[in-house]
């Protein structure tokens, strides 16, 4: 379910690190919690983002949710697919429906986040507490 080469936050974002670049999205668990996504508001390329700070919002029919950056750096690109088809976040949150690509300040920063096994255990606990 959760790709083994990604890292995960407690707020249900993921980051995939490829050398100097990080790709960021929200997890399957997050999209399930949100329900039908209808709008995504992302920062422009060039914007600085910081580990743990809000950088945008994902809006579903029932609620709006802030998205917190799993890493620090500068936004390189936002996913243009989502401006016309935000519902792709529900269908494919881990691959095609990524949110932003970031030029990382420190490629090692993401190592401090949960790995897939730890995140899987974390969401199973969250589901039990629900």
């Amino acid at each position: 379910m959760y790709p083994a080469d990604y890292r995960y936050t407690k707020q249900h974002e993921w980051v995939k690190v490829d050398g100097p670049t990080g790709t960021v999205g929200i997890t399957h668990y997050a999209q399930q919690e949100l329900g039908d996504v209808v709008f995504v508001d992302m920062p422009k390329p060039g914007t600085k983002v910081k580990l743990g700070a809000s950088f945008g919002t994902v809006e579903s029919v029932k609620a709006v949710s802030e998205i917190f950056s799993p890493v620090s750096g500068e936004v390189l690109e936002t996913n243009s697919l989502l401006s016309d088809a935000p519902e792709k976040i529900n269908a494919d949150p881990h691959v095609t429906a990524w949110l932003i690509k970031i030029k990382l300040d420190d490629p090692k920063e993401a190592a401090g986040l949960m790995d897939a096994a730890a995140y899987q255990a974390y969401v199973e606990q969250a589901a039990k507490d629900h």
Partner: protein, 369 residues
């Protein structure tokens, strides 16, 4: 051990069915209720085009009986129950002495000495106490919520689905009328009402038959495209239909005039609770009025967001959502009477950014006749 002061969450007789159906559950007015099953958009579309089945057993029922029943209903509510005939239903407001809403409700006239009120889940105990406190007519008032389950079958195919399970002819039941009949062999009050803007029925029956009726309705409805629907779709459906939700458009600070509900506030039957304040407000003018708006922005103006006109904050959004039927974002807000004209430009403060919106006529959605 239960913690004193924290109320136990309440469950309808269908709680296990919802959990088996993988519903996403939510605490709504102290009740553990299904928010969505397959997804709000899919459920919304099903109700608009085919049918949806809602467990609305959390809704409260209050029965008023005896020779003073009619007078008590007339005294505590703002619509005119004298216009009702037996078997007819009226949308009304339960009024405070200030002419504001204790609750909104459906008044079912079983006879001139027997009324069944359907009230909001979160308000039922307060409603009951309020009616008892104002019972100067020696009527018998009973808080009957635990005696009823309620299911709503809503959508253009609702009548066809329900008719499969009852010998009672449904076609002659007009909108806002009810009959007593059997559904699947279970005694029911069958009302042609709903909170979706579609045709449909709400049936009331003894809770022990809840799972049977749910299962039988699903068996009858699924082949016709019916799916279970939760509170999420109920909210987008009622908002498209321009219907008020207690705690959002109406509460104990809003009057029927302000909420655009003059059609349920009948001054000719005065005096009733709050009628003097309502007469004065009608004469002196309103501080605010409810309007409908569409967003001219991709974002959604949600409950509580500030509303500006010409750069001045003038009110607040009461409800907002994407409209699946109209493919735009809609909402309702309170603004001063001078700013209520159709076409008025609004700016809605969405987390610190101003988003353009425009006042449009309600209801946003009307079902094809």
């Amino acid at each position: 051990m239960t913690t004193p002061g924290i109320a136990e969450i309440r469950k309808t007789a269908l709680n296990a069915v919802h959990r088996r159906s993988n519903a996403r559950m939510v605490n709504f007015g102290g009740w553990d209720m299904p928010l969505e099953y397959s997804g709000i958009l899919a459920e919304h579309q099903a109700v608009r085009t085919r049918a949806g089945l809602f467990d609305v057993s959390h809704m409260g029922e209050i029965e008023i009986t005896g020779p003073g029943a009619h007078s008590l209903v007339q005294w505590v509510s703002c619509n005119n129950a004298a216009k009702l005939i037996d078997g007819q239903i009226q949308y009304s407001g339960l009024m405070t002495s200030r002419g504001t809403f204790v609750d909104d409700l459906l008044v079912h006239q079983i006879s001139g000495t027997h009324y069944m009120l359907c009230v909001n889940a979160g308000n039922q105990d307060a409603d009951f106490e309020h009616i008892v406190a104002n019972n100067k007519f020696d009527a018998k008032v009973s808080n009957a919520g635990p005696r009823y389950s309620q299911l709503a079958v809503q959508g253009p195919r609702a009548a066809e689905i329900l008719q499969k399970l009852t010998r009672t002819p449904l076609a002659p039941i007009r909108y806002y009328y009810f009959v007593f009949g059997q559904v699947s062999g279970v005694d029911c009050l069958i009302a042609r009402t709903g909170y979706t803007g579609e045709d449909g029925f709400e049936i009331y029956f003894a809770p022990e038959y809840s799972e049977k009726l749910w299962d039988d309705l699903m068996s009858a409805g699924v082949p016709l495209g019916m799916i279970p629907a939760g509170l999420g779709a109920r909210n987008t459906l009622r908002l498209e239909a321009g219907m008020c939700l207690y705690g959002h458009e109406i509460d104990d600070t809003t009057t029927p005039w302000e909420a655009g509900l003059a059609w349920i506030c009948k001054m000719e039957k005065a005096p009733f609770l709050g009628s003097e304040v309502l007469a004065a407000q009608k004469q002196n003018g309103l501080p605010r009025k409810l309007v409908g708006f569409e967003m001219l922005d991709k974002r959604i103006g949600r409950d509580g967001y500030p509303v500006d006109v010409n750069g001045q904050e003038v009110g607040r959004v009461t409800s907002g959502c994407p409209s699946p039927s109209l493919k735009k974002n809609i909402g309702m807000a309170y603004v001063p009477p001078a700013a209520t004209a159709i076409g008025t430009d609004l700016q809605i403060d969405i987390r610190g950014q101003k988003a353009a919106a425009r006042i449009i006529a309600m209801p946003f959605y009307k079902r094809p006749q």
